[in-house]
Symmetry: C2
Subunit: 308 residues, 2 copies
Amino acid sequence: MCGTDDASSYRAYLDELFRAGLLISSGVRGVYGRSGTFEDVIMGFERYVTREGKPLSPEVMHFPPLLSRAHYTKINHIHNFPDLMGSVHTFMGGDPEHRELVRKLADGEDWTRDLAPADVMLIPAACYPLYPTATGTTLGASGRLIDLVSYVFRHEPSDDPARMQIFRQREYVRLGTAEQALNHRNEWLERGKAILQSLGLAVEAVVANDPFFGRGGRLAKATQREQVLKFELVIPICSTEKPTAISSCNLHLDYFGHAFGIDGPDGQPAHTACIGFGLERIALALFKTHGLNVDAWPKGVRELLTLA
Amino acid sequence: MCGTDDASSYRAYLDELFRAGLLISSGVRGVYGRSGTFEDVIMGFERYVTREGKPLSPEVMHFPPLLSRAHYTKINHIHNFPDLMGSVHTFMGGDPEHRELVRKLADGEDWTRDLAPADVMLIPAACYPLYPTATGTTLGASGRLIDLVSYVFRHEPSDDPARMQIFRQREYVRLGTAEQALNHRNEWLERGKAILQSLGLAVEAVVANDPFFGRGGRLAKATQREQVLKFELVIPICSTEKPTAISSCNLHLDYFGHAFGIDGPDGQPAHTACIGFGLERIALALFKTHGLNVDAWPKGVRELLTLA
């Protein structure tokens, strides 16, 4: 099963994961509960990554899955990926407006137009909430290295179990000079590949682009590829023709340095780079590669994940 | 500081937590990054709770912070707590609509009206996504016990560091007969109290009510108290007059059993009950009680949290 990339093969593998109890249907495509076993695998992978990252002495930060709306509008996500956004709206009226809201719900009318935008957006990438916290700072000579993990949201309903609307990214982000950022990206590309391969995952590094929106996005995609800003580590999960990216290594140039007034040690706008591990996708790749029974996974893999 | 409940004392303690680097400002009240140390405390508390819950052999499930909109409208959250809701909206137009969206942003107009509701809501409590997954089932004789943890959203911007808009709840939920649910609530009230007291937290159990909305909510609050459906474990964090609930034990009667057609072992609509641990609030209570330097916390507390 799951050898081609058509919708029915996605659905078949998803149903297999449901039957095994590893994922739990929420009734919405791409939004799933995770079993304890699924979480154990993710926590084990996180422990492994933490061990590998420890010699680099990263700062550790953890952001909840919400980002300031004001900060969101300072980056070009709304220009580049509007179809993926998650804007949080709430009810801000009093008793009379509330009666009308409840009436609309009861009468099957659209009650969501009565809501007002809250000050927050769902975060599209684990590193987005980081940059605003460095607003107006100047980095020291060695820059900064930050270890992040967060749930992120992308509105792309799909039956592909690896294309979730809400999933976790573990990231190592570098802020510094252009050279420091480039080195970070290149070093973590190799380190990430080694980590994943040590777990029996036959990943391949490919040049990639983000899914920029619409007609205007075509040029952005081409430019990103030409400049070799993004590498993905891919492996077949549900399709051999379209392997799944389970990790990506990205160079942002001085985009975030400019947007938030972060200066590098050289006085120029800071350059940034990140590696992101897609935690659910890595778990799914492990289940695909080693089978749905974690107890029967190779001893070496279980040891690296400290599952034994 | 922080001895009274006025806004300035909240703000003073929040600033102290920012300065200590334990919480990180996002620019939005009640939305904070957490430091690695803050996370270590939360993970340590979770390990402790897991050890205490293990003899009960709970099912472990983990839900992301989103709930199906269709399921959300089956419960009365929109009637009872509309002001706390988080409705997720996104952009579903094409190129022309996108140009207009971007123009509105550039011209300082309200672009959020151009969004459409997605199929999901932010979850208001960690157990809400659980009940729909049991739709149409009949429970076995011993019912079910589920161990959950999730980020939850409540739109209530505040400078009180303990009143976050997005925070984590760890829950143990019981589905079963009325008696099984009541016993669960009562047993976990004692167990929860013992866990928190063993960590040096001088919690007190008080009868409480949820913040039902508006004029109509007054009766609901009174009824909930009369029926003694909700206990909170409270401790002063920023105010001695208004201590903070760091945990609550709730009896839902057959509310969720009715809403999702879940039958108990006796053929009646299932009764449900839960204990919820407010993880960030527990961490804050620990910092308030034992100081901001985790290394200097009492040896016994560090051992229970396996921080040593």
